[in-house]
């Protein structure tokens, strides 16, 4: 037994214990007061809640901002989508009985088994969507019959609505429901603004301009009866101050640089092959049209694409999911010669008047490189070499230049790097040189390759957009722009919220004497007899300049005809260019016949639209 002494201050302890007892009683009296307050004084108020109760928080989806063209013509808007939803926890009928009952009023495509399987994956306290897109009639019928079926409700959700059938999915992109991975990624970056089931832009402009287009969902407290049906009890704010509805903030409308009519026109060009068109304003870098064909319609993705359609798109040999304008890598062929020409003059390799004789081929060591015109061009100066697209002239000059100089000027014009357009998955292309070859092929560079690159062939790779940016710089006095896709955002009162500025990226210095013979050559291509595009791009409406290109294609692709790719880089008016068109037609055979006529059509359309009276 432990020896324990008698406490010495027992009375003092007792006094403390009395205090403690009073304190306990005091605290419980406070609690009792609180309960009295809640249950007796405020009881009726809380009772109202409990009765009507069942306050539920309903999401009010915000509308996604519309997408408008530069003249504010609507490209993508919103429409209400009516969903037939079922709260299983509130439903009284088993699905086997409920679905046949509903089928008496409206057709339901899904089988009872499928519905059972799917709905089981969803918490019974969350709505399960029985039917996605009710027609107006179906909505009306179900609104009337809804009260017969506890747990059933009809919800209107704003979804993307596309005005045209011919919309280009590559540029516009599509939207979809956020998935768990995307959600987790955003939360990792401390972005908690998305919830499962929210919509977001997944590609194209919808993705790039997500922060502006997306609104903020609202919350509305609704009072529901025991069966989950909304009852019309007004939740006055003095009852429960915090439960005032939070209205959704709709997304901002986005005004693009795109001219919808020009875009539609380019989209509708009757070209059998896959092609890409980029139309750009060389004065500010605005993208006026950007088309990659074949394409897909973003509508196919609105409610989640079905597996079959996805497979079809993916397996299509013409690759409709591939955005050729920014992802397609092609040798620019003769359209590249202007940059070689620039190098020749800047580096003082030859004066513009210095001539080279073209017998139809050029000998480099033991290798014979052919000019496209086998019978030869005869004597060529710079201007004529551009006009006739004479390869021999550039072969000879390129050897004096060397690959490093060619690369230097190509990169000055933005080739070999991303243009920085606000679209994801842009390719940067390739301007080859000795180091590149050594790293990739472990072989030394040979002069023949320099000659190939000088005429835009060989390992050189560019996207149609890059070429549009480079030609814009050529014709605007040396300004490389980061292409601009959107002009501004508008709020719902059509007031400007934010302007997107033009983005000059860098300036290339060159003098007028340098550019003049090149511009003359580009004018001749279209407007002088013998120019490669004389029969194809000459217009009696506007003075067009430009350059053809024919990319040598080797190898074959099963099931598709193999021809050379056709390029045309055009601009107009030559005196003060307002538009640059970069068009590339896969397997289009010749730049002259396979691409130039379309560029001409687009340019003429542009001026027709420009001069059209505005209503």
């Amino acid at each position: 037994m432990i020896r324990l002494g008698e406490p010495k201050t027992k009375d003092e302890f007792r006094e403390q214990l009395f205090k403690a007892s009073y304190f306990v009683i005091f605290l419980f009296l406070i609690l009792l007061g609180r309960v009295w307050f809640l249950q007796v004084l405020e009881g009726d108020k809380w009772q109202k809640f409990a009765q009507a109760n069942r306050i539920k928080l309903k999401n009010i989806p915000a509308k996604r901002g519309r997408i408008l063209d530069r003249n504010q013509k609507v490209i993508a808007a919103n429409r209400p989508l009516f969903q037939l939803q079922l709260l299983r926890s509130k439903s009284q009928l088993p699905l086997e009985e409920l679905i046949p009952e509903l089928r008496k009023f409206i057709p339901i495509e899904k089988s009872v088994e499928d519905i059972k399987l799917e709905s089981r994956k969803i918490n019974p306290n969350y709505p399960y969507i029985i039917k996605e897109d009710l027609t107006e009639d179906e909505t009306a019928i179900m609104m009337a019959k809804q009260m017969l079926f506890p747990g059933l409700s009809i919800e209107a959700i704003p979804v993307r609505d596309y005005i045209d059938e011919t919309i280009n999915g590559h540029l516009l992109g599509y939207i979809g429901e956020i998935n768990k991975i995307q959600l987790a990624k955003r939360e990792e970056q401390d972005d908690f603004s998305y919830r499962l089931g929210d919509t977001l832009g997944i590609s194209g402009i919808e993705k790039s301009f997500e922060p502006w287009l997306r609104g903020k969902n609202g919350v509305r407290p609704v009072v529901e009866d025991v069966w989950g049906r909304e009852v019309g009890i007004e939740l006055s704010s003095d009852l429960l101050p915090g439960f005032s509805p939070r209205l959704p903030e709709d997304g901002l409308d986005l005004v693009l640089t795109i001219d919808k009519d020009l875009q539609d026109f380019a989209q509708a060009l009757t070209i059998e092959n896959a092609f890409s068109v980029v139309a750009m304003d060389p004065r500010n870098g605005d993208i006026l049209a950007m088309v990659s064909n074949p394409s897909f319609h973003p509508r196919e993705f609105v409610n989640g694409i079905n597996a079959e359609k996805w497979k079809e798109l993916q397996q299509d040999p013409r690759n409709p999911l591939f955005n050729r304008s920014i992802q397609g890598l092609y040798a620019p062929a003769s359209t590249f010669k202007v940059f070689t020409a620039m190098a020749i003059m800047e580096e003082n390799i030859a004066s513009p008047d210095q001539r080279v004789f073209c017998p139809g081929y050029y000998r480099i060591g033991r290798e014979v490189k052919r000019c496209w015109k086998h019978e030869g061009h005869g004597w060529m100066n710079l201007e004529k070499a551009i006009k006739n697209s004479c390869d021999t002239y550039f072969y000879e000059m390129s050897l004096k230049l060397g690959i490093e100089k060619i690369k230097y000027y190509a990169e000055k014009f933005g080739l070999g790097e991303k243009t920085g357009i606000n679209l994801s998955d842009e390719e940067k292309g390739l301007v080859p040189d000795e180091t590149w070859k050594k790293a990739v092929y472990h072989q030394p560079w040979v002069d023949g390759e320099t000659a190939s690159v000088a005429i835009g062939q060989g390992a050189l790779q560019t996207t149609p957009l890059q070429m549009a940016v480079a030609y814009s710089a050529l014709v605007n006095g040396g300004q490389i722009f980061t292409p601009r896709l959107a002009l501004r955002t508008l709020d719902k009162d059509n007031q400007i919220k934010e302007e997107f500025h033009i983005n000059p990226k860098k300036t290339i210095q060159f003098s007028n004497e340098m550019i003049e013979p090149i511009m003359k050559g580009l004018y001749d291509v279209v407007n002088e007899v013998g120019g490669t595009a004389y029969w194809f791009a000459r217009s009696n409406k506007v003075s067009i300049g430009g350059k053809t290109g024919t990319t040598q294609v080797v190898g074959r692709k099963s099931g598709l005809k193999i021809e050379d790719h056709a390029w045309f880089l055009g601009f107009a008016p030559v005196e003060d260019p307002e538009i640059v068109v970069s068009i590339m037609v896969e397997h289009g055979k010749h730049g002259s016949s396979g691409a130039a006529p379309y560029a001409k059509q687009i340019i003429e359309k542009y001026f027709e639209l420009r001069d059209e009276p505005v209503f």
Partner: protein
């Protein structure tokens, strides 16, 4: 060991207190049946019944055990407590973002629950040994304070703010009970005022901050964290004077009430039994705690006094904080209502504490009443 069981008790069993415990327990069980009535898992009721039976066995063992054994083993108990708290941080089982459990030979235990009793035993011995001292100054409080803060901080780290606060508050009341100098109280208050902003900034987890904010202004965050508080208020308030009747509480039956069978179990009770029911329940709890304090005041020696006082204070603390939080008077911290909430660990640790209190009661000198 046997000597502790053999030692004769000087008084018969404290029947009124046992009766109070039984009454609260049966009300709790009765209420639990209602609060889990609609839940898909209907095993709660039978499970809790088994826990209750085990709880009373626990109670009986500790009543029979002479509490002086805790005096002798207070240090090993304390060391075991702290060791298990350390262990839980490293090998603990995680649940909902915190590590609170360890698995010992197939039995899952929650060291923070043991700490609630362990710290009381430790402090009881300390103050017993220093019973000559009338009022404790800074120097003599330093070591008990240190031995309190170690388990407190370890529990906070899990994180389990609720249990941590009980340990802290219990210790502070024990300090007060043992007698402290006025200036210490003043210094502590000032210290709290100064450290509060720092604790707020660095000491609290985001979810804990959220709870405090939603407590201060539940309406501001009515859709998020304030939801729990508001739904609890609706449940309690709508019970009005006489309640909706047994099994008639719509708030809980329709599952608007979160955690209606654990932390928010009183809301379900108050909804169905109204103000009258609340008064009865409060009365039972007050009776229980006053009896506990009475036992302390008549205990045989300072150790027994401190022990009974500390354990009563701990239970009272938990009860008052839980009720305060359910009625919207205090911020939401995870805390169960002793003898009422569902859960084996909580019940057994409560029974253990009550068993020791009763053990003190039985071994009081016969002359005191």
């Amino acid at each position: 060991m046997n000597q502790y069981f053999k030692s004769k008790t000087s008084l018969p069993m404290d029947w009124p207190m046992l009766a109070t415990i039984l009454l609260i327990c049966s009300l709790g069980l009765f209420n639990l049946y209602s609060s889990t009535y609609d839940l898909t898992i209907s095993k709660y009721f039978t499970q809790q019944m088994l826990w209750m039976l085990l709880g009373f066995v626990f109670l009986a063992v500790f009543v029979l055990l002479d509490y002086h054994i805790f005096y002798r083993f207070s240090y090993p108990i304390y060391i075991l407590t702290v060791a298990s708290l350390f262990l839980v941080l490293f090998v603990g089982k995680s649940s909902q973002g915190s590590q609170r459990w360890i698995n010992l030979a197939g039995v899952t235990i929650q060291p923070s629950e043991i700490a609630k009793v362990g710290v009381v035993i430790f402090l009881a011995r300390y103050f017993h040994n220093h019973r000559e001292q009338k009022r404790f100054g800074l120097a003599s409080l330093a070591s008990p304070l240190f031995f309190t803060l170690v388990p407190f901080l370890l529990i906070l780290k899990q994180p389990d703010l609720g249990t941590g606060l009980i340990v802290l508050f219990t210790s502070i009341t024990m300090f007060w009970f043992a007698g402290i100098q006025r200036k210490i109280i003043l210094i502590t208050l000032m210290g709290l005022l100064i450290t509060a902003p720092i604790t707020w900034k660095y000491g609290l987890k985001p979810y804990q901050k959220g709870r405090v904010i939603s407590f201060l202004n539940p309406e501001k965050d009515a859709y998020g964290k304030g939801y729990q508080i508001i739904q609890s208020k609706i449940a309690i308030g709508s019970g009005r004077f006489s309640g909706k009747g047994y099994l008639q509480g719509s708030q809980s039956k329709l599952q608007f009430l979160p955690k209606q069978h654990t932390d928010f179990v009183f809301s379900n009770f108050a909804e169905e039994f109204g103000f009258l029911g609340s008064v009865i329940l409060f009365f039972l709890y007050v009776m229980l705690f006053l009896m506990g304090l009475n036992i302390a005041s008549t205990a045989k020696e300072v150790f027994g006094m401190m022990l009974a006082f500390g354990l009563t204070a701990s239970l009272a603390c938990q009860t008052i904080i839980n009720l305060g939080m359910e009625t919207g008077l205090l911020p939401v911290v995870g805390m169960t209502l002793p003898l009422f909430s569902y859960g084996g660990t909580s019940l057994l640790s409560t029974m253990l504490a009550l068993g020791i209190i009763l053990s003190v009661s039985l071994r009081r000198p016969a002359y005191s009443s």
